[in-house]
Symmetry: C3
Subunit: 175 residues, 3 copies
């Protein structure tokens, strides 16, 4: 329960809620469409000047893992779970109509034709706009993920208490 | 990124948060049970006097498409995605226990016996109660959906920025 | 529509939002990982002193049903739905990588090794921390669930209006 009980590790803004608009997204899904939605909303919020954070947990954590990392984990169970669900944003599946990868390919193609940003582009612009990418400490522990497995620009891992402290007075979404 | 960066198109209430209670639901799922939940919550909120909006995006967008529209889209990829996932509230599947349509049939039958409102009834009462039905502009673009494909009583399409402006100070759910 | 239109049954806190921090989680999923996430967040919120409630609805309702209850419901359709989706927290499946129960077994094993609390432990600590477990009245009606099917320590059933009254000014998540 250490992840639940820790003191908030992130400096929480002391100003009144009216003065700082905040946006906190919990991303627990690793489906391409859900990750995409989370990143679009986070980019829009940050562009509007909101103090924006994404807390990556459970399957959503895979969006923070480098594409070239094939297997994460320290023991055979963690390695097997990673093997069955390859992390990284190039390996995500749609929650509906995946068709062995054809759905994501088609949606990516349509997005390019409409000049809509793709997930990896949105992750880059999110970082540039100052969106905080917060890895869930418990997910790192459970899946045996190490700091070197993560993409560049990620914050230090935090627990649910820190996330909830940030979420106080914020617009919140669980995706 | 036009959908992300546009200026808010909806007139945002200027009163303080204490004076207007707001409810904003992002509906990204097209599953019958999720659409049902969104509509029940929206109807309850509007009946309580809350300024209530539903932002229909990704698979949730299909709840705004007329039942008689079989195929949407302008190119073969958009048409194929619509063919595999027929839009309209009469064609929704449950996220669990769909059983080739038997689950929705049984749940509909049980709902009728208990005088619980069905999704299409809740959509009608939502409109009567003044719930704003906001189509996601990017979803319309990506899936090639045209204004004439949509049911009556839908607002003009908006982007994530407008949705987030409405969500400021509101009770928010991502469904 | 009685579940939608009822007057709030729960005494709503009259203090200003600044004085009481609130957390309201709607749990509509019965997947093990989603129930787990809801309970971790609720425990963290309650431990931080937030007035915390979980509203159990649709498939999420099964987390409130005793493990020894095999079949719930009053008519054959309700019984058949319960038969296909056995309620109780010992019978939950993962939303991804269930592998006929091997996924939950492995994740449970990993959690034990890392001293992370399991769902049934988190349900017990939630009750001790004063988290309100609110059954959705409409879900009880639709699935034919009786008061004696429920675990100990559950509040009286409420509708969407009561849930939304609690959610006013709260941090909210739909899981």
């Amino acid at each position: 329960m250490s992840a639940v009980m820790e003191a908030p590790a992130v400096a929480v803004d002391e100003r009144k809620p009216e003065e700082t608009e905040k946006l906190v997204i919990i991303l627990s899904s690793g489906d391409l469409d859900k990750v995409w939605a989370a990143l679009i909303i986070a980019n829009a919020g940050a562009a509007m000047g909101k103090e924006t954070s994404i807390f990556f947990t459970f399957w959503g954590f895979s969006a923070l893992v480098k594409n070239e990392v094939r297997i994460t984990g320290e023991n055979w169970m963690q390695k097997m779970m990673a093997f069955m669900n390859r992390p990284g944003d190039e390996h995500m599946k749609l929650s509906k109509m995946n068709f062995a990868g054809m759905g994501p390919m088609m949606l990516g193609q349509i997005a390019r034709e409409h000049h809509a940003a793709l997930p990896h582009e949105l992750m880059e612009s999110a970082k540039e706009l100052g969106v905080r990418l917060l890895p869930c400490q418990m997910s790192m522990d459970l899946f045996g993920i190490k700091a070197e497995d993560l993409i560049e620009g990620v914050d230090a891992p935090v627990g649910a208490t820190t996330m909830l402290a940030l979420a106080q007075g914020a617009t919140t979404f669980f995706i």
